[in-house]
């Protein structure tokens, strides 16, 4: 990536509110996140409403002829994307809990590469605060 890209670090939030496969939003968002990771910004991801289904575990897409891109979320830690916020209200409404989600982790460089959880379950008030504190919000 070019040198001009470095410099000011802004807070970027990617908002994911759509289920995977039925529409292309989830995959598009993931690709943008991976591409933009090269710019070394302060990135957070939020999953709420049907977006929580994007990180559900146990997907098997063989029979629908689409690529199962859910394993790629597990690479986000390698891309230094480790702030993933998931709405408690959205999980509750869907009868889901953290156990139904993939185990997304990262290795903390500042803590002897200790493996830590990337996922934080938050309520709507915390999500509102998160959105309110951003420089850039990208919505999918």
């Amino acid at each position: 990536m070019s040198e001009e890209a470095s410099g000011v670090v802004k807070k970027f939030l990617y908002i994911n509110r759509k289920a995977p496969y039925g529409t292309v939003y989830a995959l598009e968002s993931l690709e943008v996140v991976l591409i933009a990771a090269a710019f070394d910004q302060d990135v957070s991801l939020a999953f709420f409403d049907d977006g929580v289904y994007q990180i559900a575990k146990g997907m098997d897409t063989k029979a629908i002829g689409q690529k199962n891109f859910s394993p790629t979320y597990k690479a986000l830690g390698d891309y230094d994307i480790n702030k993933i916020y998931v709405s408690k209200e959205s999980l509750d409404a869907r009868g889901l809990s953290k156990d139904d989600l993939m185990d997304l982790k990262y290795e903390d460089e500042d803590d002897d590469w200790a493996e830590k959880d990337s996922i934080h379950i938050v309520n709507s008030e915390e999500l509102a605060d998160l959105m309110d504190s951003q420089d850039v919000i990208l919505s999918f």
Partner: protein, 100 residues
């Protein structure tokens, strides 16, 4: 009797609820694509689906259920079918109403 096909998430669109208002007793409802999120044994719509099972035959397309990681979460009483089962259902009914 008609086959009613719901392909949108009940959390995003009102098509499932509209379907329930307009479906005759004895008809069939089939959940496909993001519609399968209405077919789960837990969550906001489980009570509605449970009640609907008393009046309608309800199906969910298994490939769409599995793709979304919802295997083992489908409500008891909802029959899982594959693509050829979908074709059979369409052929068995007088007409298909797609709740787009």
């Amino acid at each position: 009797m008609q086959l009613h096909v719901v392909n949108k998430s009940p959390f995003e669109k009102s098509t499932f609820e509209s379907c329930l208002l307009h479906v005759k007793k004895g008809s069939s409802i089939l959940f496909i694509e993001d519609g399968i999120f209405a077919a789960l044994n837990k969550g906001k719509f489980s009570e509605k689906v449970k009640n609907a099972l008393e009046n309608y035959k309800i199906y969910a397309l298994e490939p769409d259920v599995n793709a979304r990681g919802m295997k083992n979460k489908v409500m008891d009483g909802i029959k899982l079918i594959d693509y050829s089962g979908f074709v059979d259902l369409a052929a068995e009914h007088d007409a298909v109403q797609s709740w787009l």
